[in-house]
Symmetry: C2
Subunit: 361 residues, 2 copies
Amino acid sequence: MSDEVRIALDAMGGDHGPAVVVAGAALALTRHPGSQFLLFGNAALIGPLLDAKPELKSVSRLVHTDVAIRMEDKPSQALRYGRWKSSMWLAIDAVKRAEADMVVSGGNTGALMAMSKFNLKTLPGIERPAIAALWPTVRGESIVLDVGASIGADAEHLVGLAVMGAATARILLGLDRPTVGLLNIGVEEAKGLEAVREAGHILREENWPDLDYQGYVEGDDIGRGKVDVVVTEGFAGNIALKTAEGTARQLGEYLRGAMQSSLRARLGYLFARSAFRQLRERMNPSRVNGGVFLGLNGIVIKSHGGADAEGFAAAIELGHGVVQDQLLAKIRAALSRHGKRVHQVEAGQVEGRQVLDGAAS
Amino acid sequence: MSDEVRIALDAMGGDHGPAVVVAGAALALTRHPGSQFLLFGNAALIGPLLDAKPELKSVSRLVHTDVAIRMEDKPSQALRYGRWKSSMWLAIDAVKRAEADMVVSGGNTGALMAMSKFNLKTLPGIERPAIAALWPTVRGESIVLDVGASIGADAEHLVGLAVMGAATARILLGLDRPTVGLLNIGVEEAKGLEAVREAGHILREENWPDLDYQGYVEGDDIGRGKVDVVVTEGFAGNIALKTAEGTARQLGEYLRGAMQSSLRARLGYLFARSAFRQLRERMNPSRVNGGVFLGLNGIVIKSHGGADAEGFAAAIELGHGVVQDQLLAKIRAALSRHGKRVHQVEAGQVEGRQVLDGAAS
């Protein structure tokens, strides 16, 4: 495969549409010259943008469609009017038909997940796919999943997330045996936590060679980089991700305000300008843009809807990493290796559960 | 009542025990000279600390007990060995016996909640108490609840949280009709969200005069101050709170690193020193330390376990605010005003639910 990666792009996705998608693809191409692009969307809008980037155009094919998925639609609506013919569907379908190695979209997350699931289907043993995010930490980066694909989780689902998250960390973070933690809260209460506790027991008991389970982590452990993979169900995961984004934006505003609060502060800012630039770079969400959809028969990358060209390029590059290191093959192998245990839980063996519950109390 | 507030202190609670509690009380006394303190804990440890603060000592009574609740114990364990005799129990009991207007503890949150519930009992119409946090935002402060008292919530519980949270915002933020949002995630999926959707319908339909329901908010809207009261169940709420704390700490580390990265940066730091001090002050969690337990027959304030004297004083002062403005009476009134609607939901009227579900889909 080398550097030759074929990328399907939903050119109408995201808050800024084709302008950001084309500019992002052009940027990504300079870093991965072997890329080939398949763009889906309104040719009247995309054509002129491609004409302005001849190098990109020479490795791209543009497929016209009038239908674009709106950001505010529910997945069910999007499926109704967008199946078979929207830019999002066609881009996913290119992966299904093996014309592309991955698809990147900045569009409606729920619609992207619903169409991906409908068209690509899930991997054996996985009922619900997940979205994994690369989370910057003081130690580097961690993988956090699920950050919003589905709400609620039983033990089986959490164990599946741990297995897929660890496979992703092995590839994206280059680790042999990533550390894994289950997101939990300090307050102990029996109700509502059975799934987390049961998943913890399974992970500890199995002690798989490719996954180093470290126990529970709390919200403030994520940014600390306490573990390489943080596992949680999608509601709490999405709220954690968005809250962290909001807090970073808030502190950025505080900092800007403080640096303009006096003449001395402004002078200080001038002196330290390059340090501030470096800080802004670290705090820049574009740097690690892109969520990977896990559990599907194909690589789907979600770029942030509000991303700029740099951010969209980062999402494409994330895809390069997982395609070239064959994430899908590795997840399939891990799931089939650990599948027996996952399926035992799925079957809901009462004896096993009772033993686990007894040990937990 | 004027400034005369009687405060029961669990002097053994928190990571630093009596040293921080006594120093915090002394600080709070300088700001609220009418305070009186009842301290519970090991007299051999607390006595000398009080001796060193004669002004505090003159308005304090020290009650000895050998038993202190450990930070790592489960609520059930704590109740077993600590009921009737621990410093935490005795401090709560002082509120029950009307010897104190509120209790402040930096101890084990789960144990504090369990003992408070057991001893003080919940308000009519409230089954499970909640913890409300003051959350600093770019617009000022918001109330976020529940940040970890209990896991999971049905529509009734969420509506109760909204009513109590709005009453708290009226007092602590001085607002006539606080805006209220339900924490949710952008991805739409039917499963798992019924409770949030149903609560939203009730709040919108009722349109109470003391609560301005604004719809759903996402994690990044909290720090933006989009609404005055953010309502969520305790698992997601606790993870949001801890994640925000962790992100603030992480960015603080980035900033420190950047300001030491070069000679120019260090010079800039010197120039802007007072701006950085101001920034540190804004980012300082001590500034808004303290969670208020809502839904109990008594005021219970939880100070952060790791708080310093300044933080513990902030928690005491938070209590002053809610005691003097008679939070409890106002919550009772709001609950009895809105109780009928809340109880309709509790009774699980099938017709009402179906109408709501139909309208939501």
